[in-house]
Amino acid sequence: MPFLIEHISEVVLAMNILVFLAASFLIVAAFLRRRRREKYFSRIDALRARYTPIVSGMLEGKIEYGKGLDTLKGITGSDRFRVLELLLIEKKTETSPAPILRQLCADLGLVEVWQQQLIGMVDAKGRQVSRVTSNRIQEKSGRLGYLVRASSAHHLGAIFHQPSWPLLVKALGDAHPDVASVAARSLAAIGEPESFQPLLDCLHDVIQNASRQVSLRSIKMALVSFPLEQAAKLLPSLRHSHRRIRFLAVDIIRGMAERRAAENEDFVLDAQTFAPELSEIFLSRLISDENPDVRARAAPVIAYLPDQRATSALLILLGDGEWFVRMHSARALAKQKYLSCANLIAGRLTDAQWMVREAATRTLLSFGREGLSRLYDHALTTTDRYSKEQIGDEIQRAGLVPVLLGQYAQDRNGKETQVMELLAELGKTSCMLEALEGIPERNLRRKFLADFGRHPDPQIRSWVKGLASGKPFSRLRPRAAVPGIPAPQAGRA
């Protein structure tokens, strides 16, 4: 039979009907879904209104535990499990998960369900439990089972359920990377010391086994959140032949130390928290590791060591052949106890790499008045323009120009006048002049006019003239003349 135009019309008509029906179905589905969700949420809201005060009361000890538990057991319906999760896990975010909350989750059967789900509901009991959950669709579909496993791992971590750590360790080997990542996070939240080693093994496995798709950052994040006392377990990793494993081990210790230092300004890696073998390996072996990343990340850790040799180790790293090792070392030295190294740090102000110069400048600035004085001395004596530029940059960024002006007001022929002259010479006058414009004190302006009015640089004289006539400097300053310094020359960063 030939295919006639009438047949095409019929096909197109059929398609019209089909598309119309499909669109109608989507519209109906949208409204039905909306209605269902509204019902669901109003039920949740009602349950929240009713049960949240009970949960809060139990956590605060105002309601007797047994009585509250019985009331919560009264929640029924196919979504009972989900409702309980919402009520209890939400509370966790508001207050710290008290042991009562953990007990409540266990007594209501949530912990058991989460544990069953985490191990993939392999036994009959697990399947039976899963029937009461609202995640039936996900459970029935094997490929999406990871959503349930990952959520369960998350919940166990959220309530810091310590007895679940062996299950979570097992989950580190899950085929789906999400489950392994969430399990790592939950293990970190629980903080069971024995789980540190399995996490570390997992890290090794991910590095050495290309087929494992777990995010290295997630495992590292988990390890970093353990207390520093666990760092001794990283010794074999620090001695490992794989350069990346050594690097990550050093970086994890650095993270642990920095976390602790953020809590306590006077933090040091003493023998109680940091095993002597670890200190030794940092001071003797890692500072000469063939991987420059290892050397770079070792510097901040060494800086926290109370050992006498730490300073010399840091100074060795400060002279390393790799610029980023020098940069990390310069940054690590930004502690008052290394003030005695200021001269050597100042030596890095003429480094060929600008990020090292910047780190050295910032470290000196962190030493306070004394460091600033060193910076001024260096800026006034060095012939290195890049170094001067860097110092000028940091003085502006740190908001030190008004301080400089204040000191200049008190000390007529001191260093400050010369530094101001230097800044003017370098073309870094915008900040200074804006500060001068904003200063109500007439004497300072007069002093500035007197000192700089006869300056040999005609541009500086013209700015001063502008100041004298009361014109805003920002308008006088030729805008095109401020594109920064010329591009660095060859061999300079």
Binding site: M15, A23, L26, E258, A262, Q396
Partner: protein, 471 residues
């Protein structure tokens, strides 16, 4: 063969082309819609265990810089920056690059944030126009305003990129408002990925009609005008199932530069933001794909639909036309520039599916569809198409367009439900059908203009004026 026969033949060929285009385009969109329905549904389930707190609090979380290029944005820039400074992210830096504005953009920023002009060192990592000055306030150390000579958006982004010190940077348009945790959410796939994720894009939603307080969207609502409402549906379609669907297939070729995070060194190594197209975002994505293939790097680009950035859409036809012409012209320029990707197996899904789709359906399709509006009625006039078939086909085109848009609205309602009221849902569904009558044709006209401008070698960037609906 006389001219009549040539005409008839041509008309027949064109009719076949338009029918093929219709089925190819709608077939692909349907596949994308179904894919994204499944993908987004799974993604929303994953949000239960996303662990944003851990990312926020960890010392391992990589710091990031938000780079905001701004040119003549005096009406909105201060509120935008205020909102962006509240972004919840550890170690965040914010750079605003004033691209030689001729209005008060810079002055308003200086006043609002009490910035002081500083003469800092600029170390360009790629060729850019001259930087005129830096403005900072030591009390807000994570904000830096850079003033430069006008050189276009890519040039401004390159200046920001040169100043950037963090391993990742986020490009953000000056008219955008970020949800407080949007950057955390955008960085999440990067942190969780086992492969070097060089780009991560989020969803851009329309701000018009929403209530903004203190730099944050406090109430989501639909805009008042027809034109803006149509764009709401269009954005839902484009982001929720266009981008998501391509991401599910591993064929991401477009990521909105209005809100995306990139790996700094990968971008710099690949050459930075190109200045030879008017859509620097798409250009960069394609450039990164090429760079990865040339260098033999294993990279990943992801699109996630839960990090939200709110943007002001054009509220007038003039501005809408400017925006769409630019998008279409940029698409054509980028595809032309990177034509070696077409059916190149080395690029996998990008070369074999994504690029050909963008070329034949999105770029050339605009011209085919536009001409179809004239040629098919002409065929009807000459008796080459029976009137019944013509009417049925037009109905099918309208219905199918509506079906796809309804799919996007349903997807939104199934997952994020940002428009909570029944009235909003009904309105969106109504506009999903209405947009095929009138609005679609207007957009098509602008897109066709974009194609024509590309063919004539037009290069000009058409500025969309933002009136400022913030606060």
């Amino acid at each position: 063969m006389d001219w009549r026969q040539i005409f008839y033949h041509s008309m027949n060929v064109f009719n076949v082309v338009i029918v093929a285009y219709f089925f190819l385009a709608n077939g692909t969109y349907t596949v994308l819609m179904l894919l994204s329905l499944a993908y987004t549904w799974v993604h929303t389930r994953c949000l239960v265990y996303q662990g944003l707190d851990e990312i926020r609090e960890s010392v391992v979380t990589p710091p990031a810089t938000i780079v905001i290029p701004a040119w003549n944005e005096q009406e909105i820039v201060v509120n935008s920056v205020r909102s962006i400074l509240k972004t919840d992210y550890p170690g965040l830096e914010v750079f605003v690059v004033d691209d030689g504005s001729t209005d008060e953009t810079l002055a308003r920023l200086v006043d609002a944030f009490e910035l002081i002009k500083m003469d800092l060192i600029f170390r360009p990592r790629m060729a850019t126009h001259a930087v005129k000055g830096f403005y900072a306030n030591p009390k807000i150390p994570h904000l830096l305003v850079i003033s430069k000579e006008n050189g276009g958006k890519p040039d401004a982004l390159n200046v920001g990129l040169s100043m950037c010190r963090t391993p990742y940077f986020c490009t953000l348009d000056a008219d955008c408002i970020l949800e407080r945790d949007a950057l955390l959410r955008l960085m999440r796939p990067i942190i969780r990925s086992s492969v070097n994720t060089v780009a991560s894009g989020g969803i851009v939603r329309i701000l018009n009609g929403c209530e903004v307080r203190d730099g944050q969207v406090v109430k989501v609502g639909l805009p008042k005008t027809l034109l803006e409402r149509f764009q709401v549906v269009e954005y839902l379609r484009s982001f929720l199932y266009g981008r998501t669907g391509w991401d599910a297939m591993g064929g991401t070729l477009i990521m909105s530069g209005a809100f995306a995070v990139f790996h700094r060194e990968s971008v710099i190594d690949s050459g930075g933001f190109g200045q030879d197209t008017v859509t620097e975002d798409m250009d960069l994505i394609v450039q990164l794909h090429r760079w990865a293939v040339v260098k033999g790097r294993k990279i990943k680009m992801v699109f996630t639909s839960d990090p939200v950035c709110w943007t002001e859409c054009p509220s007038s036809l003039v501005n809408l036309g400017r925006q769409r012409r630019r998008w279409q012209m940029g698409l054509c320029q980028t595809l032309w520039k990177n034509s070696e990707i077409l059916f190149n197996q080395r690029y996998g899904m990008i070369g074999m599916v994504s690029y050909p789709f963008q070329l034949y359906v999105e770029a050339l399709g605009a011209a085919v569809e536009f001409l179809g509006y004239f040629m098919v009625p002409l065929a009807l006039l000459f008796g080459m198409v029976p009137p019944t078939l013509y009417i049925l086909f037009v109905c099918l085109a309208l219905l199918y367009g509506g079906f796809l848009s309804v799919g996007a609205v349903l997807l939104e309602d199934l997952t994020y439900r940002r428009y909570p009221g029944y009235w909003d849902l009904s309105t969106l569904l109504l506009y999903a059908f209405l947009e095929n009558i009138g609005y679609r044709q207007v957009i098509l006209y602008y897109r066709f203009q974009g194609v024509v401008r590309f063919l004539f070698g037009f290069r000009q960037w058409e500025k969309v004026i933002h009136v400022g609906t913030h606060d």
